[in-house]
């Protein structure tokens, strides 16, 4: 298992991480819409070691996206605790969460979600801008490196509307890498791409993981799931397979 070597993925991170990168304990999430209450997560215990490459699978509506939202602090659990990189994120304020997330987590959304008024390069710089990382030139240099990594250097000045879907997704990955996060999560990051492009995207994620970054992603694709170190299966808001450390 790759997670055996524990290291700090970046210097800016709070401290050396000991223990698992992600630890969900007895997490419940109840959605309330109108008079209806829907228990999306019904007691999730889940841990991901530092440096792991993990796939979340399960039928539609089983709660995969909800888990990702909770472990990135995008949503809050109704009950249970969430510890990421040694910090209890369920106890942070919305603003603390935002800057913590910017520095520690890279998110790749299903629909890319690039900012339409920013160029590819500016999009790739944005998390550094928010985190006030280095000088402007350093940010630009680093973002260029990331764009080069995703083979998009030549399109750095293009607006998202001038990029194809696959190119946009590559920018999204470059953006997720911006602050050297310890954790990258993707919710069907290749869901909107053809299989060849998707496979290339996966190679990219895998190579990032090689550098010690923990990667957690949701996928519906058998092949993609099989490339993970470990597959965690979710059904009806519960973990049914692959936890903990059973790979």
């Amino acid at each position: 298992m790759k997670g055996a070597v524990q290291r700090a993925p970046n210097q800016a991170s709070d401290q050396y991480v000991t223990g698992p990168m992600v630890q969900l304990t007895a997490v419940e999430k109840v959605f309330i819409s109108g008079r209806l209450e829907y228990p999306a997560l019904r007691g999730i215990d889940l841990s991901v070691e530092t440096g792991e490459f993990v796939a979340l699978v399960g039928p539609s509506g089983s709660g995969k996206s909800t888990i990702l939202s909770i472990l990135t602090g995008i949503d809050r659990p109704t009950a249970g605790t969430v510890t990421v990189a040694g910090r209890r994120i369920d106890e942070m304020t919305e603003d603390e969460l935002a800057s913590w997330r910017g520095e520690n987590v890279g998110i790749v959304f299903q629909f890319f979600q690039l900012l339409p008024t920013l160029t590819a390069l500016e999009n790739a710089m944005l998390p550094m801008d928010f985190a006030d990382r280095g000088t402007l030139d350093e940010r630009r240099l680093k973002a260029s490196d990331h764009l080069e990594l995703v083979a998009l250097s030549d399109k750095a000045d293009h607006l998202p509307s001038e990029l194809s879907g696959g190119e946009q997704q590559r920018v999204a990955i470059a953006r997720a890498l911006a602050c050297d996060p310890a954790l990258i999560v993707g919710d069907e990051p290749t869901g909107n791409l053809d299989s060849e492009t998707a496979s290339g995207m996966f190679d990219l994620l895998a190579s990032v993981n090689e550098r010690g970054v923990t990667v957690v992603y949701v996928t519906h694709d058998r092949d993609m799931a099989n490339r993970a170190d470990r597959i965690i299966a979710i059904r009806d808001g519960l973990v049914v397979e692959g936890n903990p450390g059973s790979a």
């Binding site: 910017g102 959304f109 979600q113 900012l115 008024t117 801008d129 602050c179």
Partner: protein, 785 residues
């Protein structure tokens, strides 16, 4: 399908809570603006009811004191066409204010509890008992005579001097304007005033009529004169009969000027409101395009879809109209109450002018539906595919040169760049909002220009008269060729400049005439022609307003009614200053004195050595004493006192201009809140993304602030020419009412505070959408549709 659509359109209101409320609030605010139209109608009402309460006379006769019994006065009311009759005694007097005598008008009322025409109402305190006076409420308001209830005033009338206690304040519209023009008014019982004047009977008869057309009125006047002649054969009059034409009253011109100001202002508010409704509905429909596409995909017919949308729009308009009208009625009545009590001393009644309600309903409901129509039609026309891909936001960023230019603003922080580019992204909406803000900023700029022009004119009207002290004669032995010498010998006096005030008739109207020496200190400003030369007699210089109204030009020979009969004079110059509202006439002093058989003028402008108030006071006291000890009856006017009164009047007017400008400005700024909130709602998902990648509250704040301020700046840019245009229009309208052509004073400095204010308000109002954004969970934001 139809009933499902209808249910959908109702549910729409609750489902898209924030959006619908925002739209309805915006329309409601526009409707509130429409209600400013009620202000002219409401002040008309207030004025009408004041005229009704005061029962302003239709005809007034000025008999030399005639003794009439109550029965004889009642007998006047029995004359044909007369519905009510009353009589008063009026006289001029002086009040001794710590040694200085100031002129006052004295009015004697037969019985305060049974007045029939020109009713003197008590505003505070009590009606005067014998030996007491009631001070006109305007006295204090215009700084003419500060007298509190219980104060004692020493009043001198033709028959001597008495002490009077002030019983209260009050007044009637007939005399209110006199106070504004100069002399304070004091009311007392007729018997008290008879005692002070030594005159028997009454000197003013006021009649209320049934028929008001000229022929009938003149018959009625004749009948009344015959009636008086029967009682007192050979009855003489000290002034020709006065009549008020239907719809006329004292100071109506001023009132009309104010009224037209309010109307213009309300017009601007309505315009702004219409615009806002259009803007809002257009945005709302654009956001629904996606849904419209889906309905079409499911087989919805264009007609049905459009119908359902219009129904929703109508419903929103209805709710907004009701809410906006409630607030608007309150606001309009509140403003009118402030205006009426402080400017017109009238008590307005709470009112809901139905015609304004109609306009509000048309704009609020039909306007809303109409505004939605183009968008709905456009939306139902686009293909299902396009509609499905449409997500409300105008995602087309990057094509325009502006977008390219903004890419180069590298020096800005990323958050500021995001804000600026967002403003550029929805260009149509940003410009529309900018236009609305521009309308508001323009109104503010125009109002400052208007205020500056009015202050300029006001000061000019005031400043044309030179000197620190004005000296007038008071009946009895007046002023003569010895006056200047006596005055100039008084300590503290630098120079005494003669001026003779008179009134000439010209084409049926009376005009104030200043007769001045050839080398006058009056600093005339001739727009055409020249000033008179030594030895000239039958020449005049006229004010520009008089020249405009009566179509006079240099070299015209006109006939004027001088005190000694009609004379022909040649117009030799046209003066631009605001003497007597631009309708002044100037004649050579020597010729007028010769015609009047006088050795000296009836007034002097006196310069003192020092302009210190105490020095002026002392000099005025010295002048009065020096002249009185030689048997002259005189009074003085201290220019610094007049200046203060003048300025308090100007600042009162400015206050109201500001008071009325604020709602218009507020409407513009609410437009900004509405646009910003819409922009933010539309981009909720994007903001969720920003939050997910580390944007803190301050980043979002900076982004929204930049966006709001950019739009506000565009608004200000548009507001500058708009403001200049509105200012010109307002001033043109007002000067037309005066028959003059006023200069447009457009102070460039005003652009700066308006810019600062606009930007500051913009920075402030974006806090509203920011709060919403900062509180939102990124998860909820990302799920937002």
């Amino acid at each position: 399908m139809i009933s499902a659509l209808r249910r959908r359109s109702l549910r729409e209101l609750t489902k898209r809570g924030a959006r619908s409320w925002l739209t309805m609030t915006t329309i409601a605010v526009a409707v509130v603006g429409v209600w400013l139209l009620a202000i002219p109608a409401l002040i008309d009402d207030a004025m009408t009811s004041r005229l009704d309460d005061d029962r302003l006379n239709h005809v007034r006769l000025f008999p030399n004191a005639v003794v009439l019994s109550d029965a004889e006065i009642d007998g006047l009311a029995e004359l044909p066409n007369v519905t009510a009759a009353d009589a008063k005694i009026v006289a001029g007097g002086q009040v001794n204010l710590s040694g200085r005598l100031i002129d006052v008008g004295l009015v004697g009322v037969r019985d305060f509890s049974a007045q029939r025409v020109d009713v003197v109402a008590v505003e505070s305190g009590a009606a005067p008992e014998p030996g007491e006076v009631l001070a006109d409420g305007e006295n204090l308001r215009f700084g003419r005579l500060a007298a509190d209830i219980g104060d004692t005033l020493s009043i001198t009338g033709p028959a001597g001097t008495r002490e009077f206690a002030v019983s209260g304040t009050g007044g009637t519209i007939l005399f209110a304007s006199g106070v504004r023009e100069g002399d304070p008014i004091l009311y007392m019982t007729a018997d008290t005033l008879r005692d002070l004047t030594g005159w028997p009977g009454v000197t003013s008869i006021e009649l209320h009529l049934d028929q008001r057309d000229a022929a009938v009125v003149s018959e009625t006047i004749t009948a009344a004169q015959v009636y008086l002649d029967d009682i007192n054969p050979g009855q003489s009059y000290w002034l020709a009969p006065g009549t008020w034409d239907p719809g006329e009253w004292p100071d109506k011109d001023d009132f009309d000027n104010f009224r037209s100001l309010f109307t213009i202002l309300a017009g601007v508010a309505v315009l702004s409101g219409l615009f806002m409704v259009y803007n809002t509905m257009n945005t709302l429909v654009r956001q629904e395009t996606h849904e419209i596409g889906m309905m079409k995909a499911l087989g919805g017919r264009r007609r049905h879809i459009a119908g359902a949308f219009l129904e929703t729009a109508g419903l929103m308009g209805l709710i907004a109209t009701i809410a906006g009208s409630v607030a608007g009625v309150l606001l309009a009545n509140l403003l009118v109450s402030a205006i009426a009590t402080s400017l017109m001393s009238a008590q307005p009644h709470f009112g809901v002018p139905l015609e304004v309600l109609g306009i509000a309903a048309v704009i609020g409901i039909a306007g809303t539906m109409l505004a939605a129509l183009p968008g709905v039609l456009r939306a139902t026309r686009i293909s299902v595919r396009d509609a499905m891909e449409h997500h409300g936001i105008e995602a087309r960023y990057g094509d325009a040169w502006l977008d390219r230019a903004l890419q180069r603003f590298r020096f800005l922080s990323r958050s500021a760049q995001l804000g600026l580019r967002s403003a550029a992204r929805s260009k149509g909406r940003s410009v529309a909002t900018g236009l609305q803000i521009g309308l508001a900023a323009g109104t503010a700029i125009a109002f400052i220009a208007l205020g500056a022009t009015m202050v300029f004119l006001n000061n000019q009207t005031f400043d044309v008269e030179a000197g620190d002290i004005h000296l007038f004669e008071q009946g009895g032995r007046g002023l003569d060729d010895t006056t200047a010498g006596i005055v100039e010998a008084v300590d503290g006096v630098a120079a005494a400049h003669p001026i003779h005030y008179a009134t000439y008739g010209f084409r049926g109207e009376n005009y104030g005439v200043w007769s001045l020496p050839t080398d006058t200190v009056f600093d005339y400003d001739l727009g055409a022609g020249r000033w008179f030369r030594e030895g000239e007699s039958d020449v005049v210089v006229v004010g520009q307003a008089l020249a405009n109204v009566e179509d006079l030009a240099v070299d015209d020979v006109i006939t004027v009614e001088r005190f000694d009969g009609p004379i022909e004079v040649t117009v030799i110059g046209i003066d631009n200053l605001m003497v007597n509202g631009g309708k002044g006439i100037f004649t050579p002093l020597t010729a007028v004195l010769a015609a009047a058989g006088r050795s000296g003028s009836n007034a002097y402008w006196i310069e003192t050595v020092s302009s210190e108030e105490a020095a002026v006071d002392a000099a005025a006291g010295g002048i009065e004493q020096a002249l009185r000890s030689r048997g002259h009856s005189v009074s003085t006017e201290l220019r610094y006192v007049e200046r203060a009164a003048n300025q308090s009047e100007a600042s009162l007017i400015l206050t109201f201009i500001v008071l009325l400008g604020v709602p218009v400005l507020a409407i513009g700024m609410i437009a900004l809140v509405s646009t910003m909130t819409t922009n933010v709602l539309e981009r909720t998902k994007e903001i969720g993304v920003l939050r997910s990648i580390g944007a803190r509250r301050r980043h979002l704040g900076k982004m929204l602030r930049t966006e709001g301020m950019a739009v506000a700046f565009v608004g200000w840019l548009l507001g500058v020419p708009l403001g200049y245009g509105i200012a010109r229009l307002l001033i043109w309208l007002i000067s037309r009412a005066f028959g003059a052509s006023f200069p447009v004073i457009f102070p460039l400095w005003s652009l700066v505070p308006v810019l600062v204010l606009t930007l500051a308000v913009a920075a402030l109002v974006v806090r509203i959408p920011l709060r919403r954004v900062a509180r939102m969970r990124p998860g909820d934001a990302l799920r937002y549709e």
